[in-house]
């Protein structure tokens, strides 16, 4: 293995591009910023591929992959033991994430040159894209949990900037605020979890925390709070931070609204990279969670399972293309979390871990493809809503074919990548928790159904009369689509079980036909139902919707969670907590300060009266003072 020192360039190049396009972008023609951003991203992508090839396929790895730290520096030193370092950590999951992030980001950059053409904030967009990529890369190569937290926050900021890109639209501003506040709220839990963890173990470092057979948790056994052990608290709180970023229930409310951002942003951030940061965090802390806080691992599994079911049910009724895809993302993230929740450690036991990472990889590819395809459709039709579309297969062939490939992948059709990764998750769930397996099985069917509902409504269905004929997108937009379709098909054949595992030692695995056949069947069942209802125009869906009645309306309104949150914040928190605190601040804290001023003013007014200018007052003061002094000196001092 040659030195991996060049890996520090992978995040640095996007940072430089951010600074250059951010500061100087307005001086040049917009296309220059776009090209700079894309070229920078392309070079990062090449470096990641080289790193991955050299890490995974170069050299001898019988005893497992090593954790390599090519670069580390001390950033902030508080005391002897409390040091915050910044560095680059290379191990199987971080190298895999490098490949995912740079690939998707590169494709999104290329796509945006076409999609954002003519927009007013073109340079700003590319600057923010580079900033986001830098933050995300910094997050995945973090050597210690504090560095990860710093980049975590940076990712949140970049996401805020990108969701609120159309800052003159009030809905976009509200959505970006919501995303930031919800994730920030979850990050509070994350920070407290970090503090508890570092208090117990006296270190922030990942290498030390996840080393097998480590003894730094010895002191944790005796600590507990309210009957729950300290490590469970720490890990649950850290998971809450991850749940915020990955939009697990009940912190899922920001993700559908985040679709206000431009579609390439949705592809990059809300499908492929930022939302998997939570999953990545749990995977990174996996040995700690598995061995020190098994209760937290159960929580992870159940939250993931519930979220995937919840989101899949809502996705069935939505009309906005991007909302359907957003809920689909939520559902797939639920899959990944669940898989981590049911995983063991080491070899075959660690199947869930491997499956989660595998699904992360494949999901990034096909979800990005779905979003970019949706962007292409929206660009052509100028509307987000399914009822404005239909019969598009005649006008946009390339988009049609790539979108179809992505839908087939997500539905779990055999020989495409989605089938392999989803299957491994189902096998892992079956071995550990039958209930979660059942949930995931049902969700697989629902996934196929709503994705093909989307596909048929857009590309088949009724032939609408369009105002201007939709045309296929330009080459710069379709090339990424084709590349991602290619990746979706063939990524499933990567030998993940040998490369990315819980204890970094590869293992062999085979197809489990007991699980594979039923899952294929239920996928086809979903596709068939969607075919019947949506391929040709019919009124069966409307009649079905009416017959479900209240349940349909509740699902359509996302089970009213947004309303509940708004109610709680506005009526309860604002009225009963914020108002008294504001009153306290205004009247007591400020009042105290003002009171000091008023008291001083009044006292000085009274004291001012002593300078009355009246001769006799002065004489009186003089004589009285002399008498008092004489009294004091004669009778007290002598």
């Amino acid at each position: 293995m040659t030195g991996y020192n060049y890996t520090i360039l992978i995040p640095i190049i996007p940072l430089v591009m951010f600074l250059v396009t951010g500061l100087l972008g307005m001086k040049w023609k917009p296309i220059v910023s776009g090209l700079l951003g894309t070229v920078g991203m392309g070079s990062s992508w090449l470096l990641s591929i080289i790193t991955a090839a050299s890490y995974f396929f170069g050299g001898h790895h019988a005893e497992g992959f090593q954790t390599i730290i090519p670069f580390e520096m001390t950033w902030l030193r508080f005391t002897e033991s409390l040091v915050i370092k910044m560095g680059v950590l290379l191990d199987p999951i971080s190298v895999m994430m490098l490949v995912v992030i740079t690939t998707v980001s590169f494709m999104v950059h290329l796509y945006s040159i076409g999609y954002m053409h003519g927009e007013k904030g073109f340079q700003r967009f590319f600057a923010f894209l580079s900033l986001f990529t830098f933050s995300m890369l910094g997050l995945v190569i973090a050597t210690n949990i504090f560095q990860m937290y710093i980049f975590w926050e940076l990712v949140g900021v970049s996401s805020f900037l990108l969701i609120g890109f159309y800052y003159q639209k009030p809905s976009a501003v509200a959505a970006s605020k919501k995303a930031f506040i919800v994730t920030r709220f979850a990050d509070l839990g994350f920070l407290v979890g970090i503090l508890i963890l570092s208090f117990v173990t006296k270190t922030f470092d990942f290498a030390q925390l996840t080393q097998p057979g480590t003894t730094i948790f010895g002191s944790a056994a005796s600590m507990s709070f309210l009957g729950i052990s300290a490590m469970t608290w720490a890990m649950t709180l850290i998971f809450i931070g991850g749940a915020g970023k990955s939009a697990m229930f009940p912190l899922h409310i920001w993700l559908p609204d985040a679709m206000e951002g431009p579609t390439p942003v949705s592809a990059l951030i809300h499908a492929a990279t930022m939302v998997v940061a939570g999953v990545y965090l749990v995977a990174r802390m996996f040995p700690v969670i598995h061995f020190q806080a098994p209760a937290a691992q159960e929580i992870v599994g159940y939250v993931g399972g519930f979220t995937s079911l919840f989101a899949a049910v809502i996705a069935i009724t939505q009309y906005d293309i991007k909302r359907v895809l957003a809920f689909s993302t939520l559902s797939q993230l639920g899959y990944m979390m669940l898989s981590l929740g049911v995983s063991g450690y080491g070899g075959e036991e660690g199947l869930g871990y491997m499956a989660s990472m595998f699904h992360l990889f494949t999901h990034a590819m096909f979800k990005a493809l779905l979003f970019l395809g949706a962007g292409s459709i929206i660009h052509a039709v100028h509307s987000n809503y399914m009822y404005d579309m239909g019969g598009l297969r005649k006008y946009m062939p390339i988009t049609h074919i790539t979108f179809l490939i992505a839908c087939l992948t997500i539905a779990g059709v055999p020989f495409l990548s989605g089938f392999f990764s989803k299957d491994e998750i189902l096998v892992a769930a079956l071995h550990h928790n039958k209930l979660l397996f059942a949930i995931e099985f049902i969700v697989a069917g629902l996934t196929a159904f709503y994705m093909f509902r989307l596909y048929f409504s857009v590309f088949w269905g009724k032939d609408r009369h369009y105002h201007h004929t939709p045309h296929e997108s330009p080459l710069v937009m379709t090339i990424p689509l084709m590349f991602l379709a290619f990746a979706s098909i063939f990524a499933g054949y990567l030998p993940f079980t040998e490369l990315v595992t819980s204890d970094k030692v590869g293992f062999e695995s085979e197809m489990n036909y007991m699980v594979a056949i039923p899952s294929i069947l239920i996928g086809f069942l979903g596709i068939a139902v969607a075919w019947i209802l949506y391929k040709k125009e019919s009124d069966i869906p409307a009649k079905l919707a009416k017959s479900w009645g209240i349940l349909y309306t509740a699902t359509y309104n996302k089970f009213y969670f947004d309303e509940i949150y708004l109610f709680v914040t506005r009526k309860i928190i604002f009225n009963y907590i914020s108002r008294p605190i504001a009153w306290f601040d205004r009247h007591i804290v400020d009042g105290f300060m003002v009171g000091i001023g008023t008291v001083t003013e009044k006292a000085s007014y009274k004291i001012k009266g002593m300078q009355s200018g009246q001769l006799q007052h002065y004489a009186f003061a003089f004589v009285a003072g002399a008498l008092a002094l004489a009294l004091f000196m004669i009778y007290y001092l002598m």
Partner: protein
């Protein structure tokens, strides 16, 4: 005899000084002041300080009181009666006075003064004159000169302050 004269003089002093500060007509106040000064001169005569008594009579009674009466006539309606002083001032003044008297008398009576038994010096004009102009021990030529400068300064100040534009006022 001495004792009787002493009580007479001190009675006059105290009563007239009280009347000076409480009377409502200003000319009467000046007259009461005159009585106080005359009685003080009487006390000096009793103590065998004739020169001192003479100076008191000449300067104080004959100079300053006359000066005061002149200024009263220049600046006042003689028949004008004073108003009663207001309560705050009254309390301030009387309080200070009473407390002061109490304190000082307590101090005086807690100390026992021993009259000296040294032979007293006969005080007549030659002694005063030589002592006033001598520079040896017990010589007062320096204060004498300073007083004369002070009187000169006071004269010039009084003239300058009270001067009218055209007319000249000659005081003292």
């Amino acid at each position: 005899m001495n004792v009787f004269m002493f009580y007479l003089f001190s009675g006059i002093i105290l009563i007239c000084s009280l009347l000076t500060i409480t009377t409502r007509r200003i000319l009467r106040a000046a007259v009461y002041l005159l009585c106080v000064l005359l009685s003080t001169a009487g006390l000096y005569f009793m103590l065998n300080y004739q020169f001192m008594a003479a100076v008191q009579l000449t300067l104080y009674a004959g100079g300053i009181v006359v000066l005061i009466i002149f200024s009263i006539l220049l600046t006042h309606h003689i028949t004008h009666r004073f108003k009663h002083p207001d309560l705050v001032k009254l309390i301030m003044g009387v309080g200070t006075g009473v407390i002061g008297i109490g304190l000082v008398l307590a101090t005086i009576f807690s100390n026992s003064f021993q009259p000296a038994s040294v032979q007293e010096l006969p005080v007549d004009m030659t002694v005063i004159g030589t002592q006033l102009l001598s520079t040896e021990k017990n010589g007062y030529v320096l204060p004498f000169e300073l007083i004369s400068i002070l009187l000169l300064a006071a004269m010039i100040a009084a003239i300058v302050i009270a001067k009218k534009e055209k007319n000249k006022n000659t005081e003292i």
